[in-house]
Structures are given as structure tokens and as C-alpha cells.
């Protein structure tokens, strides 16, 4: 079985498990929507401020909850499944890539839902042309978050304080994605160039992809 076949098969299995568990859309997404609804109340319902803060709140909530998508239960194998993968000779790099692929898809859906909710709840002033930039920024952020979540989930696999520790690791490393995403939307709103911010996000995604693939085997060994 080739690398890409393994990758696609593992992503398919992850998505099937997630479809059955429904952690992303039944738990994480509603929780994030509640967080999105809390911010205007915390701002004292000042409508101008709420409108101005819309995209900023989207990125803050999106990244903090998006990383939980990367750390969801369906992306964490139990020991038996890990042993099975090892016995079947699954390429650790394909395992990483498959997990990132499934995580990227789920995180993209999650961020799109959140973005639509934000535009309804906050009414930010964004030109129609911003849709393309927002879509691009969301996809790039989703890929980066999935990569970070996969790496952090593996590093902290089996530890007592896994969830808190993985979040502590992912949150600061996700800053380039937050900067790139928020600046892309600001640039679209101000009609200035988005290229530097898109490049920042692509560079971050590529660096994480290279690190994840190169460190896939040590990552697998670290959890056995």
C-alpha cells in the first residue's frame, strides 16, 4: 500500500470514528458558539465595538477551540490500535499525514461554521471580496491547527494532564496562524495586500508539515 493510499485510508477511518462520536460538531462547535455569544455581553453590548471586534473574536475563539478539534478523542489511538498499526507496517509519516488530513477537514468545517455565526452575530464590515481571503485564511489556519494538534496530541499521549498540557503547547505555537489570519481579514477590509500574511501562514504550515513528517517515527516511538 502506497504512502498516499495509507494516508487516505487513515483519514477515512478517523473521519468515520469522528462521525460516530460527533465530538467536533456536537460538543466543540456548540461550546465555541457559546463563547462567541459571551463576548458581546462582556463588551457591554456596545454595538460599534462588537462590530469592530468581530473578526478578532473569531480568530481568538477559532484558534482556541480549533486546537481542541486537533486534540479530539477520535484522533487519539488507544494502545491496541497503535500496536495494530505497527504490526501492519503502517508508515508513521502516513499516519501523521492521514491524521492531519482528517483534522484539517474537520477544523475547516468548524471554522466556516464559526465564521458564518460571527458574521451574523457581530455584523463586521467586510467587503464581498473578503470571502475569498477569509476562505483561504480559514483553510490555511485549519491545516496549521491540525498539524499542531496532531504533534501535541502525540507528544502528550497517555499523560495524566494531557488536555491542559497539549493546549499549553499548541496555543503559543499557533500565534503565527492567528497573526496571519487576522491580518488577512484586516487587509481585505482595508483593501491592502494579503500576500505577506498568506505567505506567513503557508510558511508556518509547511514548516509544521516538514517537522511532523520528519519526526513521525520518533513520535511513534515516543508513545510505545
Amino acid at each position: 500500500m502506497s504512502f498516499w493510499h495509507q494516508t487516505l485510508e487513515l483519514a477515512r477511518v478517523d473521519l468515520t470514528v469522528e462521525r460516530r462520536l460527533g465530538e467536533t460538531l456536537r460538543i466543540i462547535a456548540p461550546f465555541a458558539l457559546v463563547a462567541l455569544a459571551i463576548f458581546p455581553l462582556a463588551m457591554g453590548l456596545r454595538l460599534t465595538l462588537v462590530s469592530e471586534m468581530g473578526t478578532a473574536v473569531f480568530w481568538a475563539v477559532g484558534v482556541l477551540f480549533g486546537m481542541q478539534v486537533g486534540l479530539r478523542r477520535s484522533s487519539s489511538d488507544d494502545r491496541e490500535r497503535r500496536d495494530l498499526h505497527a504490526l501492519l507496517g503502517v508508515d508513521p509519516s502516513a499516519r501523521f499525514a492521514g491524521r492531519v488530513l482528517a483534522g484539517s477537514l474537520l477544523t475547516t468545517i468548524f471554522l466556516v461554521v464559526l465564521f458564518l455565526a460571527m458574521t451574523v452575530l457581530y455584523g463586521p464590515e467586510l467587503p464581498e471580496s473578503a470571502v475569498l481571503g477569509a476562505t483561504l485564511a480559514i483553510i490555511l489556519a485549519a491545516v496549521g491547527l491540525a498539524e499542531l494538534g496532531t504533534i501535541a496530541g502525540e507528544i502528550t499521549w497517555g499523560l495524566r494532564d494531557r488536555t491542559a498540557l497539549a493546549s499549553l503547547i499548541v496555543a503559543p505555537l499557533a500565534i503565527p496562524l492567528v497573526i496571519g489570519g487576522s491580518q488577512t481579514l484586516q487587509a481585505m477590509a482595508g483593501d491592502t495586500g494579503i500576500l505577506p500574511w498568506v505567505l506567513l501562514m503557508i510558511t508556518t504550515d509547511l514548516a509544521l508539515a516538514v517537522a511532523g513528517v520528519a519526526l513521525a517515527r520518533p513520535l511513534e516511538e515516543a508513545t510505545r
Partner: protein, 236 residues
Amino acid sequence: MTRARAFLGIAALALAVGLWMAMTAPPDALQGVFSRIINVHVPSLWLAFLAFAVTAIGSVMWLWSKRPRWDRLAMASAEVGVLFTAIGLVTGMIWGQRVWGTAWDWGDPRLTTTAVMFFVYLGYLALRGAIDDPVVRARRSAILGAVAVVQVPLVYFSVYMFRTLHQIPSIRPDGSTMPREMLMAMLVNVAAFTILYVALVMARMEVAAAEESASDAEAMAGAVVRPPRLSEVGDV
């Protein structure tokens, strides 16, 4: 006398010389004596970059060779790096309060990205603290140490990427914008702080090696009667 102590002695002498040069160099025309804080601020952050790069090198080398000393180097360098990052942040805030009129400016990406880098390596140290098994700890933290270093270029280049209050580096390939006496004082302090970094890393590595020996001796002597640790029990 250990090598670490010898280096600490040399560092003390170098720091004394650096302090004397910093206090005798002419003050900045606009900032006055407050400009002297550059002699602590710049060396601290230079060492933070160096320390985290060394952590990445130690991490990669451990993954390649599995020799415990590389893990000790990565850990020691990260701990010292976090210390110097904190010093760099605090001195930057003091300087900012005087020059910009505010200690913390969200519009300054160098300040913000440095704080983020600080938290990344706090996470690294938290991960190490959460794992009891030395081999598992070394392996997992090596992976994080190799990944986390991507933060360092972001901090360094942030002053070029964004409009910022923070100035771009005074020393560039085409020369320096600083007066010669101030530049010399700062460079001597950079050297002195680097020697201090080496001494602290060596001392921490010696402590880590002693801790591992004590832990091994305890395991050998008490393995028969010691009750299992909670982390060794796993899920029940």
C-alpha cells in the same frame, strides 16, 4: 573545582568589566542614563535566541544519537533560556515605560512574540515536568524542542514584518548606528552574558547528571520493595 565553577568565575569577571564599561560609556543624548539598560536587555535576548537554538540542536542530536547528555543540554539550555527571556522582557518593559511611556504595547510585535516564545518554552518545561520516565521524557521533549524553535525567527524578524515601536537592530551588515563606546560596552556585555550562559548550562547539566545517578541508584537499591508510582500504574 568543576568546569562550571571555573566558567562562573570567568563570567563574574567579565560581567564586572561589562558593568564598568556600561557605566562609563556616554549616555544617549535623548534617553539619558536609561539607555544603559541596553547592556542587559540586548544580551539577555541574544542569549534567549542562542539558548533555544541550542535546545533545538540538543533535541535533534538526542533523537539521532540517544545519548543522555544531549537531552541534558536541551533541558539546561531551555531553562536558562526561559530565565534570560524573562530578564529581557522585564528590562524591555522598564525601558519601554521610560521611552515609549508604556511598559506594554500590543502594537509592538517584538514584545508580543517574545512573550509568546516565553510561553512556548514554559510549555516545554511543563511537558518535561509531567513525565517521570527519563527516556520517554527525553524523546517527547526532544520532538517539541525541535518544533518549538520555529518561534525564534518569528520573534527576530517581527520588527521587519510589522510597523512597530521597536527599532530594527542597531548592528547590521552595513555597519552600526551606535556610537563606538556604547557599541563596545554592549558587545563586552554580550560576551560576558554568553560566558554566564555557558556556566549556568554546564552547572545545570551537572545537577541533572547527579539527579539521574541518584535516581538510578535508588531504582537499583529499592526496586524490590518500592511501591509502584502512580504514573507507572496506568489506567486501572
